[in-house]
């Protein structure tokens, strides 16, 4: 497999959604007709695999093969029928109490990385993400309207321990960050 084909496969895998020939051409710095011919080759190479390339006009994307649908459906069902894990419950509670809150704040409070957990809550529609107004590369997470309705919460601030949690978690995040800065300045010495 030539490099260009590998790179296209990698980009489509990561993107998940469809990409146009033009977008690919721009990222890969290759003329569009090269991209197009390599896409035909990739489509061909994938035709007997679990991942397929589908093409519609000048857009392409990767999907699972239709022959595997029995199992992909089963996986989807299992994923979403299951109860929330302890990690999800913790993350959801933090977002409910502190939202809008950034991923790194959630990570600090939990002490572990929450990337997958937050993603899981997003697809379940329990939380939603909004662009951080101060930094448009980052996101903030907040409870979805449906979640609040489902739990019967009128106003987050009326929740028990609301003030306590807000105060302590803020203090904690502040401390961790200043420790971190100290350590970093020592390390660069």
């Amino acid at each position: 497999m030539i490099n260009l084909e590998k790179n296209i496969e990698a980009l489509l895998f990561l993107k998940g959604e469809s990409m146009t020939i033009k977008q690919l051409s721009k990222i890969l710095k290759e003329p569009e007709n090269n991209i197009e011919s390599v896409i035909d080759s990739l489509q061909n190479n994938l035709s007997s695999r679990g991942i397929r390339l589908i093409k519609k006009e000048d857009s392409v994307m990767l999907t699972t093969s239709p022959e595997s649908s029995e199992f992909t459906k089963e996986l989807t069902k299992e994923e979403f029928d299951s109860e929330l894990t302890k990690a999800s419950l913790e993350t959801l509670s933090i977002i409910a109490y502190k939202g809008p809150v950034s991923r790194s704040q959630i990570d600090y409070i939990r002490g572990v990385n929450s990337a997958f957990t937050v993603r899981n809550l997003l697809i379940r529609g329990l939380v939603e993400r909004v662009i951080n107004p101060k930094d448009n590369r980052g996101y903030f997470y907040k409870p979805s309207f449906q979640l609040l309705q489902y739990l019967g919460i009128q106003n987050i601030k009326d929740l028990p321990e609301y003030g306590e949690f807000d105060k302590k978690s803020e203090e904690f995040i502040k401390n961790v960050k200043s420790d971190e800065e100290n350590i970093n300045s020592n390390d660069s010495a």
């Binding site: 109860e83 509670s93 933090i94 529609g125 329990l126 449906q146 929740l159 321990e161």
Partner: protein
């Protein structure tokens, strides 16, 4: 003269290893004896270190003193435990050196050519999926649990303090033993005046006492936490 910058080191092993490597020495009792003065010199600057770090530095200082004393006064007998602590220090240094070598592999490739994962169920719009068995009470109790589990500011592990207390005893005992040996050594020395060793031995005593002073400083820091007032050392001179 090799100079040391304060706060440059992660800990006592880091400092020791650096001193050894700068002199291109291998890890053994001879090289440890030869860098012990520089190590103790560094300890003098430790006053502003967090208590727990001081403990670590001082514990290793005691082993270095043993090594140096033994190298200067071969007739000084070490207990089995002391022999062990010397062997252990050498082994720890080798371990640490190995970790540093291996860490170069990590450093070289970390973040250079990353492999990215796909977002889970990317492109699937599920809408709102009712979270089974989830109630408001559940969320409130989870928040309480999270609050309780927020890490507290780390307290000085008792064990480190215990080590300093036993270090104090050990130093006192060692002082007695070395003083006895010293007298003996001076007696031997006076018989062979032209050995050129006199200055060296005076230096031993001076650096040993200077070192004791440093160790005391470590202990004095400990005694500031009220529970340990009773281990404050009185001047024995």
């Amino acid at each position: 003269m090799y100079s040391i910058k304060l706060n440059q080191f992660e800990g006592p092993l880091d400092l020791l290893l650096d001193l050894i490597e700068k002199k291109k020495l291998s890890i053994n009792d001879l090289s440890l004896a030869s860098i012990s003065d520089q190590y103790l010199e560094y300890l003098k600057q430790l006053e502003n270190f967090p208590l727990e770090e001081v403990a670590g530095f001082v514990v290793i200082a005691s082993t270095l003193i043993l090594i140096k004393s033994k190298s200067l006064i071969p007739s000084l007998e070490l207990t089995e435990e002391e022999e062990q602590s010397i062997g252990e220090l050498e082994e720890r240094l080798r371990q640490y050196q190995r970790v540093k070598e291996l860490s170069l592999n990590i450093k070289k490739s970390f973040g250079k050519n990353p492999q990215f994962s796909r977002e889970s169920f990317k492109g699937m719009e599920m809408g709102f999926i009712e979270p089974k068995k989830l109630t408001l009470n559940f969320i409130v109790s989870t928040i309480k649990e999270i609050l309780n589990n927020l890490p507290k500011i780390e307290k000085l592990p008792e064990i480190a303090v215990k080590k300093i207390i036993s270090l104090e005893e050990k130093i006192n005992e060692l002082t007695d033993r070395i003083k006895t040996k010293m007298e003996l050594s001076f007696a031997e020395f006076s018989k062979s005046r032209n050995s050129g060793g006199k200055e060296l031995k005076v230096e031993i005593i001076v650096s040993f006492l200077a070192m004791l002073e440093l160790v005391k400083r470590g202990i004095i820091i400990v005694s500031q936490s009220e529970a340990f007032d009773n281990i404050r050392i009185k001047n024995k001179e």
